[in-house]
Symmetry: C3
Subunit: 156 residues, 3 copies
């Protein structure tokens, strides 16, 4: 691969991740089917675990999920009735071949439901693969720098 | 257009949007004249409208504005005496021709005045055109994921 | 330089800055030695100074530092026992020659220690140089749009 091919792949992967965030927060859950590969693995099991204080009161368990259909259904279940904001920053995309890449993203999220209010910060550690339909997220693992969870109503 | 031309246009538009944010928050309002096209349309009329709770107490009306001079004057009026932070994230720039492009940006903003404190999250939906002086924002429309407005003093 | 060389340099510098942030917040302070040039100058002396309200109670002094070893030691001293999040946004990288570049980044940071809680917003103004080992940060200067400091415990 030459540098132009690498730069183009990096831009395509950045826009893939941008669609991931936008579909999450605008609740276009069916569109998430075009973001993940069929055998994707999605692990945000640390989403509500603060590295300093541990799992705070009010936290819920989000199991590791695998397979496109399970992931989309699982995301829709957690976020379907929530008000959420997910932002990604400072991509470190490494294109390892014409069809594979790895990425690290810094992130911040806000998830507000009737049961809890989450504010978190951390990193996504991801792999990507290029399918006939374009780049897809193959694995996603979230680690936390900080997370606070409050049991509270949405209108604070 | 080839991929190199597209990547270069994307980078130029990203830096255009970066200047837009920086001029806003550092109050270089006259420099905003180099950011918009002469016939630009600027619509942040939903800036203080939360999609879940509706328009909260303390919100002000920001009308849709058109034309470079009106936009710059309108921004200066709202932000001139405010302390503000505007951040953009996760650009989805689509270069549709050598001289036209569209973009979606995730965003977060903080605007603190003597009358209100706004914290908002949402997306900019934009179009761009390339003039003799470079890329310019032609249309900007803000949609909200979440917005809170408090009537409060600045020093909380 | 042609546009492809510029775009590649910009991408390398973005990933350099991404590693800077990630090493800071994951406390990989020794890895920061691969981020700065030997004679780097690091100036975050305004980190706790709010441009509207001035230096708030609880703020500490962070002196301007120069030289790789001093910078890494100084960062480790401030952040070693802190919980921190640093995010960069909206890069304006200008590649001024094959081996030199300038950059402006919008930023947000959270630094929580037993003594203080800092939340800040501002811009990094930076220069870079390309060494035999790749791009390095040569000078970094932080300016603030807003900063709040509270004397408080970490678990609020």
């Amino acid at each position: 691969m030459n540098n132009l091919e690498r730069l183009w792949a990096i831009e395509e992967i950045k826009q893939l991740k941008a669609r991931y965030f936008r579909y999450l927060d605008t609740k276009k859950f069916q569109d998430l089917r075009q973001v993940f590969s069929a055998d994707a693995v999605f692990d945000v099991s640390d989403a509500m675990r603060d590295p300093v204080t541990g799992t705070p009161p009010g936290a819920i368990e989000i199991p590791r999920m695998s397979g496109l259909e399970n992931i989309v259904a699982g995301i829709a279940e957690v976020l379907g009735s929530a008000q959420s904001v997910h932002h990604g920053h400072m991509a470190e995309i490494d294109v390892t071949s014409l069809g594979t890449a790895t990425g690290i993203w810094s992130m911040e999220d806000i998830v507000l439901t009737d049961e809890f209010q989450l504010r978190g910060y951390g990193h996504y550690h991801e792999t990507y693969e290029k399918t006939a339909e374009g780049w897809r997220i193959k694995t996603l693992k979230l680690t936390r720098l900080r997370a606070t969870v409050e049991q509270a109503n949405r209108q604070d």
